[in-house]
Structure formats: structure tokens, C-alpha cells
Symmetry: C2
Subunit: 301 residues, 2 copies
């Protein structure tokens, strides 16, 4: 069983319009809503592969209740940390362009943050890995994920952290098993790019570093070694959620203590399967199995 944490979940809302024209009054022809947040996407992908997961999330207000009902109605295991604020929305407006409007989300009080830590500690009983994914709530201390990495270490559960900036750096310093920025997040965290920047995160304390590069594949670094997995060629679709699918593969590989070339190949294949899926947090297991043998992994200096 793998535990995921979504510190700042959202109701992901999609509006279909003819075209988003600023300054106009526009008719929305269709509306979709789904539970959103990177940790919840990771749980969804893991469950699609048959791996049991427990999702931990602070939830509040009507949007929070809606997420809890939607997830448990779909058979997901969820541990809710009740909060006083109202869970945020993210809005994607699909017309001739795709535009995303991200609400900041509710801040967590010190008491609510302590309750989140306690919920994660409880959830880790019997867990094979912990995944900490996505943005922190506004005003949260930069060491929120680092603290959860330390809680996991005390429970001997490896932690995979997909975040950015000071929160990622603090998680690395707390000894995260894996930190997984994308190229932009790596630059926002270290100021650099490529192997040198990734190795900064190893020196900071992370045991492994994976950098997702979108259509240019993935890099992994552990000790003195590095590997590169090429992306599955010719896959086009919705890249949102590909990083979450890669995080799910990394969590599975970390839980099983698999060698990095195998884990990296799985991350590339699962990311490609997620690009094919119409919505974030889905990855067709058949596409994943078809892609897996096509991924090439090589040593990378």
C-alpha cells in the first residue's frame, strides 16, 4: 500500500467555450468537475495498476465535501483532515486555447498542519512508500513536506517528493528517498539545470533525484551514477498528469527497491500512457504495458 498526500487539493473544473475572449460575456457550453490535486492523481494511477493506496488530504467546505464523496464513491481510500477553510477550485477553460485559473486555496492553521502530520503518521502503518505531491497551501512553512519525510523515515517508509522551491530543498535536506522536480522546478529550486543541478539536490540530502523533461524523457541520479530514459516517441495528447504518472511509477520502484533503469523505464512508459488519457490522473494500463518495452534507458553522466 502506498500513501499519497495532497496538501492543497482542488475541485478541478473544466469549462468548454467557443473561444476565451477577454472582456466579453461568454456562454459555457459544458462543465466538468473532478477531484484534483497531484497526490490524488498519483493515487488514481496506482489504483489503475492494482496497487492499493490511501490518499491523505485536508478538505473543507462544500468543495471539500464534494471531493470526499466523489473519491469514496469511486472506491478510493481517503483519510480526510477536516479544515476550517474551503477547499479551492482550479478552472481550465478550453476553447481555441486552454487557459488555467488556479485559486490559491485555504491556508492551514498550525493545528490543522499538526493534524495532517498525525494523519500521515497513522496512515503509514503497513505502507511501502509515501508520495508528497504538489503545491503547499498558502502560508504553509517551507518544511511541511520535510517534516512528513522525517515522520516517514521514523516509520522506515521511503518518501517520494514532487514539489518545487524551498519545500523541495527542505525535503531533500530531510533525506527524502526521491525528489522529482521537472526541468522548470529544478531551475526554480537550484537556479540551474541538468545533471549539475540535480546533483545539488543529492548533496543537499536526497538519496535519489529524478528530473522529468516532458518529451525529452527523464533523468535519474543516485550516488555517482545517472541514467536517462527517452520519452516514448510520437505520443501526443494531454501532458497534464504525466508527471503524476511518473511519480506513481517512481513510488512503486522505490517501494520495491527496484534498480533505477527499470524504474525509469516504467516512469517513461506510464507518463506516456497518461499523455494518451484525456484527463489527468488516468493512465491506460494496456498502453503502459505496450509502451514499456519500447523505452530505452542509458547511463548518463
Amino acid at each position: 500500500m502506498i500513501v499519497t498526500v495532497t496538501a492543497n487539493p482542488a475541485v478541478d473544473t473544466t469549462y468548454e467555450v467557443d473561444a476565451l475572449v477577454p472582456g466579453r460575456s461568454l456562454r459555457v457550453s459544458r462543465v466538468w468537475e473532478r477531484p484534483g490535486g497531484k497526490g490524488l492523481n498519483v493515487s488514481r494511477v496506482l489504483r489503475g495498476l492494482g496497487e492499493p493506496t490511501l490518499a491523505v488530504a485536508p478538505l473543507g467546505g462544500p468543495t471539500g465535501r464534494w471531493i470526499a464523496r466523489a473519491l469514496t464513491g469511486d472506491g478510493h481510500r481517503l483519510r480526510v483532515v477536516p479544515i476550517e477553510g474551503t477547499t479551492r477550485r482550479t478552472l481550465t477553460v478550453v476553447g481555441t486555447d486552454t487557459t488555467v485559473l488556479n485559486e490559491p486555496g485555504p491556508p492551514l492553521s498550525a493545528r490543522e498542519r499538526a493534524a495532517l502530520t498525525e494523519a500521515v503518521r497513522d496512515a503509514l502503518t503497513g505502507a511501502r512508500a509515501l508520495v508528497l505531491s504538489g503545491s503547499l497551501p498558502p502560508g504553509a512553512p517551507d518544511d511541511l513536506y520535510a517534516e512528513l519525510v522525517r515522520v516517514a523515515a521514523r516509520a522506515r517508509v521511503p518518501a517520494v517528493v514532487d514539489a518545487t522551491g524551498p519545500a523541495l530543498l527542505a525535503a531533500a535536506a530531510a533525506g527524502a528517498a526521491v525528489v522529482k522536480p521537472n526541468a522548470d522546478e529544478l531551475r526554480a529550486t537550484t537556479g540551474g539545470c541538468g545533471a549539475d543541478a540535480a546533483r545539488q539536490l543529492l548533496r543537499a540530502g536526497a538519496r535519489s533525484v529524478v528530473v522529468s523533461l516532458g518529451s525529452r524523457g527523464l533523468l535519474a541520479f543516485h550516488g555517482d551514477r545517472g541514467w536517462r530514459a527517452g520519452a516514448v516517441p510520437g505520443v501526443t495528447g494531454n501532458p497534464t498528469g504525466a508527471g503524476d504518472a511518473a511519480a506513481a511509477a517512481i513510488a512503486l520502484g522505490t517501494a520495491a527497491a527496484d534498480p533505477w533503469p527499470r524504474t525509469l523505464a516504467r516512469a517513461a512508459a506510464l507518463g506516456a500512457a497518461a499523455v494518451l488519457a484525456p484527463t489527468a490522473g488516468e493512465a491506460d494500463p494496456r498502453a503502459y504495458r505496450a509502451f514499456l518495452p519500447t523505452v530505452h534507458v542509458e547511463e548518463y553522466a
Copy 2:
């Protein structure tokens, strides 16, 4: 007491962004939510003037519950018609432009429409006027307002209808006391503009017709006569909701059987007070009383 009906209410949500740039992922810096819908705005304005009101609205889902709680928490009298669908949202994105995204809203089943009619019939006991305002739910028959006009006629309560197209035409044919299109709605309903188009609605069966012209004032037609009220000059602000404030003044005048010049002056002054208010459905009573003596009303052929 004046009864208002909001057939397709909404949670009016406002996002503050730096600039709405299509194709980008944007940070929302502030989020506001308020109960929305033209009938609810009319109730709010009436209540601000000390007139008791009862708002009737079909509401469903988390958004519907939120509206009910917000209104009753503010002391509004509300009669909810429970529906299976989820009450819609409208989103206003305020950046360098103001952009509005209107969700269509849930359709009402035949049973829910019958329950709405029944709720209005009950609500009319002791009412001085009925106000029917705003768009119909998607798929509703064009005679939904007309049917409520007939219900009001049987209860000897005058009905004021602020709508457009076939729904407005049907309400006129059902003998509405007043139909109140704006210039665009008049054109959408009759294909014409000005006095000739307004008199078409009288011939269709409406007892009076008011046309709101924004900064060009208001026209009223009754029998062979017509009047024009000039707008209060130099008032700038938020025009959303000015028409609802005018509808509130027309409902008060209709309830009291006031002469049209007086009602029209009040509608112009209250509309101007609504333009000064930051949000739709508010009109500062002091501004209204200050504006009222400045409004000029003349005969209009």
C-alpha cells in the same frame, strides 16, 4: 411583500487576476462568492428599501445549499424548490478586462417546474407584486414565466417580467402588468427598437412596457401614452444590477398603483444608485434619495 422568482440562480464567483491571458496558467489572487441571479438581486434591493420580500428559487447540489445558507444567514426570506441538478455558477474574471463565463445551469424536470409553480402560488398569499427575472433554465418551455403570470393574475397580484425573447413575448401575451426588456432584449424579442417595438408588446397583451436604455434612461408605455426618464448624469461604476434595481422600483410602483412618471423617476434613481454600488443587487438608499429629485421625466410619443 413582494415575491421574486429566480428560475436559474447562480453562485456568482469573481476571480481577481493580473490579466486574463488565453493559453496561459494563471494565479488567481482573490476569490469572492455571492448568491446571484436577477430575482435575488431584486429582492436584495427591495429589502434595502425596507420592503419585505420572499425569494423563490429552484436550488440543488452543494452550490444550491450554499446559496440557501448565505441568503437565510443574511436574513433573507427564501422559498427553496429542491431540484435534482446542481445550481450553476457564473464566473467573472477581473484583470485588465472583465470577462464573464456563464454556465448554462441545470434543466428543471416537469415535476420540478410544477413544484416551482406551486411554490409561487403559495408565496403569493399576501403579496403586493410578483417579479419574474432573468434567464430560464436550459430546456424550459417558453411559457414558464407566462404560466406564473397567469397564477399571479388568479391571485390578483400584478406581475413584472424582466426577460427576453419568446419567454418575454409569452409573458406579455399572458397579460403581465409590466414587461421590462432592455434595448437589446427588446430587439431580440420584437426585432425592432424604440416606441414602435415597445408598443408591439402592449398589443401582444402586456399592460405596461418599460424599456431600460442604460445611460440613456428609461421609457415607459401604457395605453396610448409614453414617458421618458433621463438617466442621472455623471454616474459611473458597475452597471451590472442597474436593471434589477429598476425592476425593484417598477415592482414597488406597480404594487402601489403609482402613476408612471413617479415610478419611472424612481427606477432611474434606483438604477443610478445601483451603478454606484460595487456589487450587483445593492443600491445605496441614501444615493437613491439624493438622485430622485434630479431625475427629469417627460411625455414621450
